[in-house]
Amino acid sequence: MTAPTPGTSGWPPPALDPAGPFAGPLNVLAWVLFAMAAAVLVIVLVALGVALFGPRRWRARLGGERLIWIGGLAFPVVVLSALLIYGLGLTSRLTEEPAAGEMRVRVTGEMWWWRVAYLDAHGREALQDANELHIPVGRPVVLELDSADVIHSFWVPRLSGKVDMIPGRRNLMRIQADAPGVYGGQCAEYCGGPHALMGFVVVAHEPAAFEVWRARQAAPAPAAATSHPGAAVFDRAGCGACHTVAGTAFNGLAGPDLSHVGSRRTLGAGILPNNQGTLAGWIADSQSIKPGNRMPAYPVLTGQELRDVSAWLESLE
């Protein structure tokens, strides 16, 4: 979402830089296809060269029907059949049924953000979050993809291919990160309005660090229940009508869960850095940042109130 990091070349692009076993085969297949196509291009160009400049006997052979049978039918049948079998075999793991006991997360596409719910062993939603997905390294994570409104598509190029989120259906996919890190994602099906500003972040932790993170997420943020002036502003402005903050009375479901918003790496669904300033800017006028998004602007808060509420939200880690 932000400008490319200065000093990096931008190559390889994330889609060609796999970081897990559900993206690796796609990358291999892409390069195989590219190599195959390049080889075919060379053959065709050579044939063209012979047709233009070659000796008469060769040119005569090119002009016969036999070439159509061999070059146009037999050769492609062999090559494409091989490619099909190879491709299907390579990508078979991507569509395996999830095994019992794998970590499951339900990601629901909304306009224009992502509702993330970590499921417990019984399939109930145990932990709510938004716009950021945390996974342990080295284990496949099953994602249940759903949509609350229109068709979205979940895409983390470094970890897997795209899978649509279609209202009325639940699509399953698996991702796995092989190394700790932060992996960016993007909505990949036009969903109207600021679709281009619907990004998100996958954070992969070492298993021990993941458990620490999960334990911290399961409990309300320590700062939630304090009598911070920001909490009073949150209350007065009616933010609880849409947002939930665990440990308080605010339990709105229309917008992203803010229980641990201070610990997220981005704001606004992957589009802004997360600090008190950007929080204040988003609250004051998110329409100028992400036009058409479902949160109204708040030109009714004073400067002090804006700073108070953004300070409180930033403290919810």
Partner: protein, 349 residues
């Protein structure tokens, strides 16, 4: 010696006639056969005129959609560019895609057929000249009305394939999507009219002695093209009808909460959408196969193979539509089948 239809070519020996022609014959002939004068050009129905108008209109839409493309390219030239406001950009890319696919690509190749086919098969005109004239004018006026919606900010903004539920009333409350649905519905009916004419013309109005195995390759391509239109276009007419009824009357075809399925639109649309691209490609391939042998002053190599390939392509192209839906979560067996079929059709292409 008589030809296979019983026609005696010896009769040609009479021409050119010697001796003077009757007085006034030339003027009378010119009066009968002259082209439209002045405002008569609006009422012309001969395929030569309608064909030229048709090609001209298609090229006009190409330029209009091309201007939109240039505006889009300007917006995309720099990251996070602010050249176009968000809503305008969304309308522009929708209209660009729609105009290019529905108002330029198919009409352009259909126009080529209207202009060239009758003479190519030795007919005087298309079988139903007034129908083709009507189809042209409906296309021009409807297409211009559709395009002008962008100047009023009422252009559809759901992408050129207008997936519900984004294009259902809940998420597209204005009349923008209805412009698309009604406009495209009628334009496709116009295209089907043209396709019927081409089929009848090629199958029934050929010169004597022109059996199908002597049919020019372009005419074969247009015949297959027209048959594909007649099978594929009703699918999109049906889907636009269903979505318009859902929007106008609240019926639940694509609304999951009411028992419908957004994927129904995708299947219906792409059942049309994939043959659509072969519909655009086949006449162009037929044109290539006509131009190159003519320019190289040789016969087309493998005429029968080319005809068979075009027939098979047209047929198999109806079996690959779900390759536009690979990310929707279809079962693996389905995606594998459509992958295999897509490779098969690429073979024939």
């Amino acid at each position: 010696m008589k030809g296979e239809t019983g026609f005696d070519p010896g009769l040609y020996e009479r021409f050119p006639t010697k001796g003077p022609r009757p007085k006034g014959e030339l003027e009378a002939l010119e009066q009968v056969w002259c082209g439209p004068k002045g405002w008569q050009w609006i009422t012309a129905i001969n395929n030569n005129f309608i064909g030229v108008y048709y090609v001209g209109a298609a090229m006009l839409f190409f330029v209009l959609a091309g201007v939109l493309a240039l505006l889009m390219r300007t917006q995309l030239a720099l990251p996070m560019n602010g050249f176009l406001p968000q809503e305008t950009y969304n309308q522009m890319f929708t209209v660009h895609g729609t105009v290019m696919m529905f108002l330029f690509a198919v009409p352009a190749v259909e126009a080529l057929g209207v202009l060239l086919l009758p003479q190519m098969v030795g007919a005087r005109d298309l079988p139903f000249p007034r129908l083709s004239a009507y189809a042209f004018w409906a296309y021009l006026i409807g297409g211009l009305a559709f395009f002008c919606s962008i100047f009023f900010g009422l252009a559809p903004n759901g992408g050129w394939f207008m997936y519900p539920p984004l294009t259902s009333t809940t998420y597209s409350p204005g009349i923008n999507a209805d412009f698309w649905l009604l406009g495209i519905g009628f334009i496709e009916i116009s295209a089907i009219a043209g396709a019927i004419e081409i089929i009848v013309g090629v199958l029934r109005n050929r010169a004597p002695g022109m059996t199908l195995d002597k049919l020019p390759i372009f005419a074969w391509a247009m015949l297959i093209f027209a048959c594909m239109i007649i099978i594929a276009f009703p699918s999109i007419i049906l889907s636009t009808l269903l979505l318009e009824v859902e929007r106008a009357l609240g019926w639940p075809f694509f609304d999951a909460l009411k028992g419908g399925d957004p994927l129904l639109w995708q299947h219906l649309f792409w059942f049309f959408g994939h043959p659509e691209v072969y519909i655009i490609f086949l006449p162009a391939a037929g044109a290539m196969s006509t131009i190159i042998p003519a320019m190289a002053r040789t016969r087309l190599v493998g005429y029968r193979l080319v005809v068979l390939a075009m027939l098979a392509t047209g047929f198999i192209s109806f079996g690959v539509w779900a390759h536009h839906m690979f990310t929707t979560g279809m079962p693996t067996i389905s995606t594998s089948f459509f992958s295999a079929a897509s490779m098969a059709v690429s073979l024939l292409t």
